[in-house]
């Protein structure tokens, strides 16, 4: 091994180690039945939500682009990935674990790619708009996509349209969800602390000044938007293969608000906050389902908005403000 390879290998090890430790621990615990399979599933859902929220944090938190269409990209990723595995898993006659895994990985990438491609197409015209107008345009895009999902069966019967898409293989497991999350964290952390990331933050802080410093603001906005949406697409692919059923209402514009709330609650441009808020959000929703007596179950959605309003009144800059976990900080300031 040459000297130049050493840091590279070290970095790979740094990425694989937390993944292996976390998923190993969880797999061990669930195999020994210490963990209820229901909660394992919720944990995976939390990972998926975190991936999607990290993507939105890149778009809104770091680049300052107000996007209300995140769920649409999540949906595009979910449908693309589901369609891929439906078409190709077992298509070559072998059901070997390796081949299925490879197809699944491919379909996740395809989901992310489709979302990114669409984001690029949508972003090119709309990212010229500013602040609230961009929000409205992306919100409109989200609703258009929902209408298209509802009518999807008229182009491709497999997609199911308003009745929902069924018969998706259940491929997402703890290793996949954790791997996705670790990848998202690492990629976004490294991106944010690179020259690209600093250009994005500069655009958020002051677009005119950023342009004056020689940053091609429009190009970087498209890059930030596309990258963030790609993560939503991957998260969607994982989601599709976790619950094995897709329905257009899951990708409603209201779901975009859910992700937005997570990002804002955690603090804009703060990855720690997004991670904590995603897990807190998913576990709180499910926890209340268990904790509340059945006759008060409707109170869940009364309490959550109240909690949200109170949090915003008390900490308008998000739960974590500008504090980050050490491993998410830039090396320069560490």
């Amino acid at each position: 091994m040459t000297a130049g390879m050493m840091p590279f290998m070290k970095n790979i090890a740094k990425a694989v180690l937390p993944f292996a430790a976390l998923s190993g621990l969880l797999l061990f615990l669930s195999a020994r039945e210490f963990l209820n399979p229901y909660w394992v599933q919720i944990f995976q859902m939390a990972c998926i939500v975190a991936i999607s929220a990290l993507g939105l944090n890149l778009i809104y938190g770091f680049t300052g682009l107000f996007s209300l269409g995140h769920a649409a990209f999540y949906g595009v990723g979910a449908y693309t990935a589901a369609l891929m595995t439906k078409l190709y898993v077992g298509a070559y006659g072998d059901e070997a674990v390796f081949a299925t895994g490879a197809v699944f990985l491919g379909s996740l990438l395809a989901g992310g790619g489709a979302a990114a491609l669409l984001a690029c197409l949508v972003g090119l015209p709309t990212l010229r708009l500013t602040s609230d107008y961009l929000g409205i345009a992306t919100l409109g895009f989200g609703i258009i996509m929902k209408v298209l999902f509802d009518n999807a069966d008229s182009f491709l019967p497999q997609l199911g349209g308003a009745r929902g898409m069924t018969g998706i293989a259940r491929l997402t497991g703890i290793p996949w969800a954790v791997a996705g999350l670790v990848t998202a964290i690492l990629v976004i952390r490294n991106l944010v602390h690179s020259t690209y990331g600093r250009a994005l933050v500069a655009i958020r802080e002051d677009e005119v000044a950023a342009a004056a410093m020689g940053i091609d603001t429009f190009r970087f906005k498209v890059i930030g938007f596309t990258a963030g949406c790609a993560f939503a697409g991957v998260a969607g692919g994982l989601y599709a293969h976790l619950y094995t059923f897709l329905h257009p209402s899951t990708f409603d514009f209201l779901k975009s608000f859910d992700v937005l709330m997570i990002v804002v609650l955690g603090g804009l441009g703060n990855m720690t906050g997004t991670l904590v808020a995603s897990f807190a959000w998913v576990f709180l929703l499910e926890g209340m389902r268990v904790a509340l007596p059945p006759e008060y179950i409707e109170f869940r959605w009364v309490l959550i908005p109240l909690l949200l309003i109170v949090t915003m009144l008390v900490r308008p800059r998000g739960l974590f403000g500008v504090r980050e976990f050490p491993f998410l900080r830039s090396k320069v300031y560490r």
Partner: protein
């Protein structure tokens, strides 16, 4: 009818630059107040309108005082998230069995439907009432904004909050009044909705609210004639889509239109372009 809701959005946005997501739910509360006053107390129609408008206005003022005012100097996104929170809270709180309940209710028709045919086009008296009520509210609004003292205050605050405050405008009172006035219009819209489409539930505000907001943006947000124009365009395009294409595409077409207009004129059809200063 979109026009009435759109007006509330455009006024609030024009003054505090906040997309008030709870507006659609205020509209819903207006419809429910009307429902109860007709169903339980058999009040005459003018009283129903007054109760719905007054109740909605009161609700909006309370929301503004409790949730938005403390955040006025906070980052804009905090207020926006709070608005979404208020919206969700109103929807799910009123859907509780102890409040309005989660079911659909049939809105009682306070009068008989009469159809009239003029020159081959059929009108119903419901459409007539909607038209008259909309025009009346619009006229009233124009009067309030351009001919009264509080209206002058509204325009001043919309132009520059700090300077307006220095000039002796009671900014808080003006903002409260704007929320109230917008909500009163939404409440009237709620009654009209109940009369025109006689079925209401606690989530009915979401789509009309969103479309009304879209209409406001389409026409140029902050502009009163723009909101009405945008609402007319929205209503027409939806009806056309249902008639000529397919009703399943109805919700999408409005937003296709919106994106097209925004790309062509980013501040809406009647919106004024604001040059950005460094």
């Amino acid at each position: 009818m979109y026009a009435l809701i759109a007006l509330g959005y455009t006024m609030v946005y024009g003054i505090v630059r906040l997309i008030n997501f709870a507006h659609g739910d205020v509209f819903m509360v207006g419809a429910f107040l009307a429902f109860y006053s007709v169903e339980k107390y058999h009040l005459p129609l003018p009283a129903v309108f007054a109760i719905a408008a007054g109740g909605s206005a009161l609700l909006a003022v309370v929301i503004e005082r409790m949730a938005y005012r403390p955040l006025r100097n906070a980052p804009k996104i905090a207020a926006l998230i709070t608005a979404i929170g208020v919206s969700l809270f109103l929807e799910y709180f009123t859907a509780l069995h102890q409040v309005f309940g989660p079911n659909y209710y049939a809105f009682p028709r306070p009068f008989q439907v009469v159809s009239l045919e003029i020159g081959g086009v059929t009108f119903t008296n419901i459409q007539g009432i909607i038209l008259v009520a909309t025009l009346a509210s619009l006229g009233g609004l124009q009067y309030v904004v351009y001919r009264t003292k509080v209206g002058r205050g509204m325009r001043a605050v919309s132009h520059d909050v700090v300077t307006a405050g220095l000039m002796g405008v009671n900014v808080n009172a003006v903002i409260s009044f704007t929320f109230g006035l917008g909500a009163a219009l939404a409440g009237i819209g709620g009654v009209l909705y109940g009369i025109a489409y006689p079925q209401i539930n606690t989530f009915m505000g979401v789509m009309p609210g969103l479309k009304a907001f879209t209409a406001a943006v389409l026409g140029g947000i902050g502009s009163i004639p723009g909101a009405v124009l945008g609402a007319l365009i929205m209503g027409q395009s939806e009806t056309m889509t249902t008639a000529y294409l397919s009703s399943t595409y109805r919700d999408g077409i409005a937003f296709v239109l919106l994106i097209a207009v925004l790309l062509w004129k980013p501040t809406g059809i009647l919106g004024k372009a604001r040059t950005e200063k460094v």
